[in-house]
Symmetry: C2
Subunit: 265 residues, 2 copies
C-alpha cells in the first residue's frame, strides 16, 4: 500500500497500521478532516501542575483529553485507542533531556503515567485552506515557522516559561476572515496571539525561526502568530521533570473526531 492510499484511510485503519509497525512516518495530511493531537505523558506527581498549566494557557496548550493515572486507553478522541502503540513515533526525556526515540512505548509504560492529548494546528490550517486562505508554508511543502518569544506563560507549580508560537504570513485582505475562522477552534490553538509586530514578542530576526520554514513575507502580507503546541513540551523540559514521553515531532495521534466537532460556533 503506498503512502497516498494510507493517507486516505479512516483514522481507525491508519492507527491499526501504526500499531502493527506498518506506518511510522509523519502524520501530516493523514485522514483529512480529522483532528490530530500532540502527546505529553508525565508521572502522576506532575499531573495536577501540568493540567493547571495547560488550563491557564489554553492558546498554546489546549487540552483535548487526559487519561486517568496508569490508563493507556483513550475514550473521547478515539474509543479504546492505545497511547503506547498508536502513534508512529515517540520521544523519551529524562530530567528534561531527550534520551531517545522509539516506535512504541509498551515496555516504558508505568502505573503512575498520565497521558495529555493536546490540540494540533493541523485542524485550523485545514479549515483555513477550505476557506481559500493562502498558507505559504503548505504551498511550499515546508514545516510551519516556529519562534520562541519573550511572552511568559502563566506559571503553575514547577511549570513556567515563555510561549512558543507558530507564524504564518497572511494576506492583509484575508486577515479578518482568518481571525474569524481560527476563533471557532479554541480546542486547536484558536485565535492568533499576535498580529503584525514580531518585536512585540521579542523576536529579533524573522529570518531565523527556531524551527521550520525561513519565511518570505510579501508586501501584501502580515506576520500572524499563534500559540504553538511545542510550548507545553518546552516548559516540561525546562522544569526537568524526571520522566516524560512525547510524540516525535510531526508524528501525531490521529483522532476519530472531525476537526469540525471541536468548533464552538
Amino acid at each position: 500500500m503506498d503512502k497516498d492510499e494510507i493517507r486516505n484511510l479512516h483514522p481507525t485503519e491508519i492507527r491499526k497500521l501504526i500499531r502493527k509497525g506498518e506506518f511510522s512516518s509523519s502524520t501530516e495530511g493523514c485522514a483529512d478532516g480529522y483532528a490530530q493531537a500532540n502527546l505529553v505523558i508525565l508521572p502522576e506527581k506532575n499531573a495536577f501542575d501540568f493540567l493547571l498549566f495547560c488550563h491557564r494557557n489554553p492558546k498554546p496548550c489546549p487540552v483535548l483529553e487526559v487519561t486517568e493515572p496508569g490508563d493507556y486507553n483513550l475514550k473521547d478522541l478515539a474509543e479504546g485507542a492505545d497511547v503506547r502503540t498508536d502513534l508512529p513515533r515517540y520521544r523519551i526525556y529524562e530530567k528534561g533531556e531527550c534520551v531517545g526515540d522509539v516506535e512504541q512505548i509498551v515496555d516504558l509504560w508505568r502505573d503512575d503515567l498520565v497521558a495529555f492529548m493536546i490540540g494540533c494546528s493541523y485542524s485550523f490550517e485545514s479549515a483555513l485552506l477550505k476557506a481559500n486562505i493562502r498558507l505559504r508554508h503548505i504551498e511550499l511543502g515546508e514545516i510551519v515557522s516556529v519562534y520562541f518569544t519573550n511572552q511568559p506563560c502563566k506559571p503553575a507549580g514547577i511549570f513556567k516559561g515563555p510561549m512558543v508560537t507558530s507564524m504564518r504570513p497572511i494576506r492583509r485582505d484575508q486577515l479578518v476572515r482568518v481571525i474569524q475562522i481560527c476563533s471557532r477552534f479554541p480546542a486547536v490553538h484558536g485565535a492568533p496571539v499576535h498580529v503584525g509586530d514580531p518585536g512585540k514578542l521579542g523576536i529579533v530576526d524573522m529570518d531565523k525561526p527556531n524551527f521550520g520554514w525561513k519565511p518570505e513575507i510579501g508586501a501584501d502580507e502580515v506576520p500572524v502568530f499563534w500559540g504553538c503546541g511545542i510550548t507545553p513540551q518546552a516548559v516540561a523540559m525546562k522544569a526537568e521533570v524526571d520522566f516524560m514521553i512525547t510524540h516525535y515531532p510531526g508524528h501525531m495521534f490521529i483522532t476519530d473526531r472531525l476537526s469540525e466537532e471541536f468548533a464552538v460556533l
Copy 2:
C-alpha cells in the same frame, strides 16, 4: 448605604464591603455586566481528579481560575482578591455532609487547600436579557428552576455522578437566538445541553424542580436545559471528600472581569 447603591458599585468596592462584613447578602444583580463565580475549595489530594472532572464536563463545570495549593489569592478574575474573605457567605462540608455556614473562612484555611472558581449562569442570563430574550423566572423574581437528571457526567477519579441542570422556558421564536448567544459563553455554561423533552433527561415531573421556581411553561415556549454549576458540588458531596468549602447558594464571588471578556466570538 442601601442595597441598590451597593449593587451599583464596582466589584472591587463590593468585595471591600464583603471583606469588612458590611455586605453578606445574595450577589444576584450585583455589579451588572461583571461575571460572578461559584467557589469549590478542596484539599490538594483531590485537586487533580477534580480539575480533570471539570475539564471533562465543561458545560456544567466551566473552570475560570484555580489557585496553587495553599494560595488564597486570585490573579486572573480579580488581582489579589482573597477567597477566604471576599465572598459574602460560605458552606462547609465534612465527608460530604454540610456542617455549617460561615461569613469568612480565614480560620479554616489550610496549606493544602486549592480554590476552584467556576463560571456562573448570571453571565449568560445578562447577555440574554440584553438581547430582549424573555426569562420568566427573572420577571417573577424567582430562583431559576434546577433539576437533577439521569445523564451521567464523565467520571474522573473519585468524582462521578449525574449532571444537574437549570431550566428556562424559552419562546420558540427566540430559541435559535438563545442558542447563538449562549454559545458565545462556554466559560459560563455556554450552549444548552438539551432542548424540548425533559423525559430524555429522566425528569419525570416538571412541576417538581429540585430547587427554585416551579415553572409555568407557556404553549409558545419550550423547556431549555443548561449544565448547572451545582453539578461539581453535588459530585464532590457524593464522593464524600474529607473536607470541602463552597460559596453559600446565591452568594457568589464577584469578579473584576466583564462577562463579555469571556465571549469566544
